[in-house]
């Protein structure tokens, strides 16, 4: 079941042949080229939080429509949190409106931003713990993302800023872990549904 | 046109037959055209073998100084260019001792089937006559002969031929000469046939087929999108529409099959454009699922079903009235729809136009039950009057929140938002839905929507178009569609014998109007139901939907032969004497 798998996969090295890169017009740079600017870094940070928030909101709607109120509420909460993070970034940067995406597009490692939950991770019978497993996975990926950015930064300023973002994400990781401790683990047979799927059309 | 010709007749029927490129249809069409030009009314029906080319063919014509809607009980003359497989048409060309056969002796003897009732045979070497005029054809000789036999002036014939054979020169001259030769030969036969002179022309007249009339009716009604899939005998309707529609800003698209054509038309109608398709029985069977969609989503659509011999592939080139059941009851679920039936060639125009109006106004599918006889017959008719039915769809104008596409209203009709209108976007759905169009399996919604769709049809006032009700008497003959002409003639004959009988020809079959029929049958004790099918589909429908008098009888047989006036006349006579 995916939420369980998600928990174990965070440290596993993906066995894919190549990492899919999206909308990268230029080939990966190997030679030392200028790293991201502060603006680019924070634009990524903002987009990351916003996309995560939107995804959690979509999750909440899907769970609500399937009568899984508890998990829906949890995802709504996560969405609010991510929205708050996004707002914080705007505030820190003094931006009155969301920054435009970089001309070359966002440079995520995967198909979407690292904090954006994978849609296929949902299960209509999932329990709050599973939702937090997803959130944990996302925060850890975001943390790694900023760590990498910090390591590849070519300016001290940006390295510090990326480091600060990484630290933020590490804090989020810790908060989710705390939250998980307070949340009952999934019951055995949580995904058992005595009813078969329904025909609708 | 004197003594040799006998008393002028109020109707004459003549058939021309031949095979293998004999040009029978051309000759027949030209004769009809010429008679029309000369002021007569006429009707021509074609019959042929199954071959695509070179098969046996017969042109069946009838003329009169008054409008005609059906073939007579017999033919006065049969002109045979040759006899190959012509025995096939014996049932369709009834001859008797007063009939005349003119045949080419070099082509063999007439088949026995034509001689059983003592028709007079006259030999005329048509082929030789044609050969004597280089560049001419036997059918032109036959044309000249036929025209002269019945009294259509050669001048009218020549005008028609000249217009058709646009490339002048040898062919035209030869054809004209052949016509003269045929006319001369006719003079020597002494047939004793002559048509009563035509009346002075009071109104504009047309020469038109039922299929063309239906196409024109559709356009008059506002149809501007047609999806087409060819099928005998509806193809000509679509082919007429293909160049006609663009002239009025419309479009015809050929589809890959009937499933596509009906769905295309529904899609276009959803977009706000009155739409139509035409087919025959097998195509209608394929379309039934989509017709249900039209009912459920309340998207108007008109389907012309040009009925032919069934079931299954049946007899594609012959007429039959055997799609009544599928039209009335062929959709799954409770799916009310409109079914109308034109009852003459000219009425194909008015009734198709009416169908467009009804479909648009009631936001429902309308099936027009035409048939091969009406569809492919060419008739001289008085120009159908301009009628005021123009499709009027109740549309929703741009508004604010709260638009309910399927709102429950007293009339059952709810305004339809046309794509492009801001603020009213909705999803049309075959799924049962609530007033907003959101899918719903709730009992309340289903009942409300079913009642809405039924009420909108049943509550509508269909006006005088619902039926032709004529005459008086204790006996009534109830029929529909192409049988109407024969019934009308039969009752005219009965009246001449002092027997009064009422005619009720239904144009509106669904929704049924029991109150109206009861009023039309007030005082009637006996009803004779006339239809052209084996199982009595129309009778079954009448019994199911209406209050009928105590005594009901059926006069029916399936295609390919038409119901003839005499069959009905005899039944009326015999029944009223009892």
């Amino acid at each position: 079941m995916s939420p369980r798998k998600a928990a174990t996969k965070t440290s596993a090295v993906p066995r894919r042949k190549a990492r899919p890169q999206l909308r990268v017009v230029k080939p990966a740079r190997r030679v030392a080229a200028p790293g991201p600017t502060t603006r680019e870094l924070m634009a990524h940070a903002y987009a990351l939080e916003l996309e995560a928030a939107e995804r959690y909101a979509e999750f909440a709607e899907a769970m609500e429509a399937h009568n899984n109120r508890e998990v829906a509420e949890l995802f709504r909460k996560l969405a609010r949190i991510e929205h708050r993070h996004a707002k914080q970034i705007l505030g820190e940067m003094g931006w009155t409106k969301p920054p435009a995406p970089p001309s070359t597009g966002y440079r995520w490692e995967g198909l979407e931003a690292p904090e954006t939950a994978d849609f296929t991770a949902l299960h209509y019978l999932m329990q709050p713990y599973h939702a937090l497993v997803i959130a944990l996975h996302n925060e850890r990926r975001a943390h790694k993302f900023f760590q990498k950015l910090a390591a590849s930064a070519t300016s001290e300023k940006v390295r510090r800023e990326a480091g600060a973002m990484a630290a933020e994400e590490a804090e989020h990781v810790r908060l989710i872990e705390e939250w998980m401790k307070r949340t009952p683990p999934p019951e055995a047979g949580w995904d058992q549904d005595p009813d078969p799927p329904r025909y609708v059309d | 046109m004197t003594d040799r010709r006998g008393t002028p007749r109020t109707t004459l029927s003549l058939a021309i037959c031949g095979s293998g490129g004999a040009g029978v249809m051309t000759a027949g069409n030209m004769l009809l055209d010429a008679a029309a030009r000369a002021g007569w009314y006429g009707l021509m029906v074609r019959s042929s073998g199954p071959q695509i080319r070179g098969g046996e063919a017969a042109a069946l014509l009838r003329f009169a100084p008054h409008p005609i809607d059906c073939l007579d009980d017999r033919f006065d003359a049969l002109i045979a260019i040759d006899w190959q497989n012509i025995h096939r048409f014996a049932d369709e060309i009834p001859l008797d001792e007063a009939s005349l056969i003119v045949a080419d002796p070099d082509q063999g003897a007439p088949p026995e089937a034509y001689l059983t009732r003592g028709a007079r045979c006259v030999s005329l070497p048509l082929k030789q006559l044609a050969k004597a005029i280089p560049g001419s054809w036997p059918n032109m000789v036959a044309l000249g002969l036929a025209a002269e036999l019945i009294g259509v002036p050669a001048e009218a014939v020549k005008q028609v031929v000249t217009r058709s054979l646009k490339k002048a020169g040898d062919t035209l001259a030869a054809s004209l000469a052949a016509i003269d030769a045929g006319a001369k030969a006719a003079g020597e036969i002494g047939a004793g046939l002559v048509l009563a002179p035509p009346p002075p022309r009071s109104a504009s007249r047309w020469l038109i087929s039922g299929n063309e009339a239906a196409g024109l009716g559709a356009i008059r009604g506002g149809v501007r999108f047609v999806a087409a899939y060819p099928i005998t005998p509806a193809t000509e309707l679509l082919e007429w529409l293909a160049p006609a529609l663009p002239k009025v800003g419309g479009v015809l698209v050929q589809a890959e099959d009937e499933l596509a054509s009906i769905n295309m038309a529904i899609g276009a109608s959803y977009g706000g454009v009155p739409s139509l398709t035409a087919t025959a029985g097998p195509g209608l069977a394929l379309m039934t699922e989509a017709l249900g969609l039209s009912v459920a989503a309340e998207v108007p659509i008109v389907v012309v079903d040009v009925m032919r011999g069934g079931p299954s592939t049946g007899i594609p080139a012959k007429s039959e009235q055997s799609d009544v059941s599928i039209a009335l009851w062929g959709l799954h679920g409770d799916a009310p729809r409109i079914v109308v039936a034109p009852n003459s060639v000219a009425d194909c125009l008015t009734t198709t136009q009416w169908a467009v109006h009804l479909a648009e106004h009631l936001q429902a599918p309308a099936i027009v039950l035409s048939d091969q006889f009406l569809g492919q017959a060419r008739a001289v008719a008085d120009r159908p009057a301009d009628v005021a039915f123009i499709g009027e769809r109740l549309t929703a104008s741009a508004g604010s929140e709260g638009y309910r596409r399927y709102a429950i209203t007293d009339s059952g009709i709810s305004p339809m938002a046309i794509p492009g209108t801001p603020g009213l976007a909705y999803t049309a759905d075959g799924l049962e839905h609530n007033e907003r169009g959101i899918p719903s399996s709730g009992a309340g919604d289903h009942r409300a929507q079913l009642a809405k769709r039924e009420r909108k049809l049943v509550a509508h006032d269909y006006g005088g178009q619902w039926a032709d009700v004529e005459g008086d008497g204790e006996l009534a003959v109830v029929t529909f569609g192409s049988c109407t002409g024969a019934v009308r003639e039969a009752l005219a004959r009965a009246r001449a014998e002092g027997i009064d009988a009422r005619l009720v020809s239904l144009r509106l079959l669904a929704p049924a109007r029991p109150k109206l029929l009861s009023a039309a049958l007030d005082g009637v004790e006996r009803v004779l139901v006339v239809e052209q099918n084996q199982s009595g589909q129309f009778l079954r429908y009448l019994r199911a939907e209406f209050e009928l008098p105590r005594e009901v009888a059926s006069c029916r047989h399936p295609g390919p032969l038409p119901i003839r006036p005499d069959e009905v006349y005899r039944r009326v006579l015999e029944w009223s004497r009892r």
Binding site: H123, Y124 | R205, F225, E256, G271, P419
Partner: protein, 280 residues
């Protein structure tokens, strides 16, 4: 070429294209992302919702018209393309998008798929392919692998899968692309491009069914951007598509056939003029 209205002063955000009705799709279904991608594409194109019509057949993915605020038409199984064709030909001013699943589109809708590609009317067809009939509880579809076992195919179908992109190319589609629901932003860009492209644009979207094909969660690890850019050479495209393994994402073919659109609209002639041919 769909004439997209210039984005108004405040271009509509994707939320403006999402209706209030919550999808019935199982949580985890790829179609949620496809819906999201649609809304983002509409935003990018700056189209007014009333100028868009989404036409579908029957199946899980065919429920999509109700979930967007544009005009919608939820027709019968397999017949989205003819309905969309009729609508677009009669109303060329609208942006028409046909949508559905692999069963609806390639099985019962197969014939219409061929002819829609051939006819090349200016519309966009999006197939959410999950290699299964989801709505009817898990039967093989034309794109299901031959060894996939189900109640209707206890030994697998044993049939070679249908190759929709190859068929689309052969039948005459003017724009052929493959998308992946796990990449909603990329898909949104792809959809916008498809809608902008004139003629018949076909976008096959890999969209996992977590209920009947949970293994399709692995797709995110298997898809890749197409190794080369789109070609406008049909022969080259044919070679590429015939050897394509089903996981190349992006625009694969962009042709230059002129769209089919008969002229419609007002004209000088009136119905009365058509009668002249019948007058004696």
């Amino acid at each position: 070429m769909t004439t997209a209205t210039a984005p108004s002063v405040a271009a509509r955000p994707p939320q403006a294209y999402k209706s209030d009705y919550k999808p019935i799709w199982c949580p985890g279904c790829g179609d949620y992302s496809v819906l999201s991608a649609f809304t983002k594409a509409f935003t990018a194109l700056g189209l007014a919702p009333e100028q868009i019509a989404v036409v579908s057949g029957i199946g899980c993915s065919s429920r999509i018209p109700a979930y967007v605020t544009s005009y919608g038409f939820h027709g019968v199984h397999g017949r989205a393309l003819p309905a969309a064709t009729g609508l677009k030909v009669a109303r060329p001013d609208l942006t028409v998008v046909a949508a559905g699943g692999d069963g609806d589109g390639y099985s019962i809708g197969g014939n219409h798929f061929l002819h829609a590609c051939r006819r090349n009317v200016d519309l966009t067809y999006v197939v959410m392919d999950n290699h299964v009939y989801g709505m009817t509880k898990g039967q093989p579809s034309p794109t299901t692998e031959p060894d996939w076992v189900s109640k209707l195919s206890p030994a697998g179908t044993g049939l070679r899968v249908f190759h929709p992109l190859v068929v689309a190319l052969a039948a005459g589609a003017n724009f052929i692309a493959r998308g992946f629901s796990g990449d909603p932003n990329g898909l949104a860009a792809l959809l916008a491009e498809a809608i902008r492209a004139p003629g018949f644009s076909f976008v096959e979207v890999l969209s996992p069914c977590v209920t009947y094909r949970p293994e399709q969660r692995e797709w995110k690890g298997q898809v890749r951007p197409a190794p080369v850019g789109p070609t406008d050479d049909a022969a080259r495209a044919a070679r590429r598509l015939l050897t394509d393994d089903g996981f190349n994402i992006g625009v694969l073919y962009r042709g230059s056939r002129r769209p089919f659109q008969p002229p419609v609209g007002k004209s000088a002639a009136r119905a009365a003029e058509l009668e002249k041919a019948f007058e004696i």
